[in-house]
Symmetry: C2
Subunit: 252 residues, 2 copies
């Protein structure tokens, strides 16, 4: 049974891409066939896994527009059993081109048809927005992981995320569920951080992952080497946290 | 001569809202009549200045749709000479509603007509995207400030920002210029951070502000009190850095 997880939060810079890359790598290293789908025109997941954007033949844009299948566009990565559907800036154009197309919210879901024949997990990295690309991701997913920082704006953002999920569930994808909330860039010494963690655990209880992802220099460095932190610094705190998250995801 | 500055970077979480709030407050405290325009559906600038979203009569949405003028929607803030054009989630709807309207990219510019009669500076906080709302902001501005973190994805993002500015300059706003690049959440101990600062200063030279904004707990705490860090912790490092930035902006 293939699971499709969207890593979503319209708030920017909360660790969506970092979580998508490292969870996808964690699942692949645990023996699961995994596809990471980059649906952000910034293409950070694509660069973060070392793919050169100028040499790509087909991308998520072609799949979204229905011109190519995921089989044509996916590429292998430096991690065995992990494939990537890469993204470039062209993807920003899809939003305008699809504006008048009926069923424009279901283009990604249609483009990923039959992906269950080849993969155990599909991880979707979403852009920081409430627009058509993010809606496509939520319509294509079975469930979502919500990364959030331990900061004030993040709490406000959480209510908006829930609002968006309810809307998508009602209109496009009844089965969409919240897989879990992941606290990222945690600095255990900071009082603000501890207060936010308490507030989120009180309100969302078991829907918050036990794993807390610490802020570490190695996690921030890893993308410049085109690798997940799981291989770049495998014995470090960051890799350990993403390994623990992977185990939590496999256990649910 | 009123100056309209858009605080722009499609990369998420780089300090756009924090810079918009604190620069606007800095200019107001320096005696300039300042309007902060929140054009992000998340409405972080609105909450960050302590405005209650449920009590707002009109917002940026109404101005963008041409139904109200900025005079109707603007509200005062806790800082004298600083007014705010607040935003709520409704703004996300404007993107869909304006999709087929001719001149949809110029709605904000039209909505801010005659703002020079009442303000010396207009600061626009943009959402993390390349969509219609951000384009409206760039079309309405005289120049842009680009906040960026000292991280790997930020460098890649800078090339995309330049690409977007060139496009807007060619199609919508010939006078749009780059006012400066601002390095935020700087941790001087981190090697990655120093490397990024060197790379940016080498490539962009005098277009990079001398001021570096340090990562401080007080800056992260200030929004939960509905205040700029300039008033929340006026003698702290964060306030000092934003004061210095304000002076650089006034001097250019
Ligand atoms: N645990 C961590 N420790 C240190 N740095 C981190 C951590 N997680 C993410 N980062 C860094 O913080 C920045 C933001 O993270 P990331 O790009 O993953 O967020 P995002 O939510 O995908 O952003 P966007 O909204 O732009 O898509 C990146 O430069 C990343 O390298
Ligand atoms: N210099 C700083 N020191 C510490 N924390 C900071 C600093 N600047 C910003 N922050 C915090 O980092 C987070 C991201 O900043 P902010 O929301 O201003 O970025 P943004 O670019 O506006 O994000 P978005 O892309 O979602 O609009 C916020 O929680 C903010 O409080
Ligand atoms: Mg991302
Ligand atoms: Mg913001």
């Amino acid at each position: 049974m293939t699971r499709t997880l969207a890593i979503f939060n319209q708030k920017g810079g909360v660790g969506k891409t970092t979580t998508a890359i490292n969870l996808a790598a964690g699942l692949a290293l645990a023996g699961k066939r995994t596809l990471l789908v980059d649906v952000d025109p910034q293409g950070n997941a694509t660069t973060g896994l070392g793919a050169g954007k100028s040499t790509l033949e087909f991308t998520t844009y072609d799949v979204l527009m229905g011109e190519r299948s995921w089989r044509d566009a996916m590429i292998s990565t430096g991690v065995s059993r992990l494939h990537l559907l890469p993204a470039t800036l062209d993807l920003a154009g899809a939003v305008v081109e699809l504006a008048d197309v009926p069923g424009r919210e279901l283009c990604l879901r249609n483009g990923l048809r039959e992906v269950e024949a080849a993969f155990d997990y599909v991880i979707i990295d979403t852009p920081p927005s409430l627009g058509l690309l993010s809606i496509n991701c939520l319509a294509a997913a079975d469930c979502t992981i919500i990364p959030m920082q331990c900061e004030f704006y993040a709490l406000e953002g959480l209510a908006q995320v829930e609002h968006t999920l309810r809307l998508v569930r009602r209109q496009l994808n009844q089965n969409l569920s919240l897989f879990g909330i992941l606290l990222t860039m945690v600095d255990a010494r900071s009082r603000l951080c501890r207060d936010v963690i308490d507030a989120v655990r009180t309100q969302y209880r078991e829907r918050v992952f036990d794993t807390l992802i610490p802020r570490t220099v190695r996690i921030a460095e890893a993308p410049s080497y085109g690798e997940p932190v799981l291989t770049y610094d495998k014995r470090g705190k960051g890799a350990g946290a993403y390994q623990a998250l992977t185990q939590e995801v496999l256990a649910r």
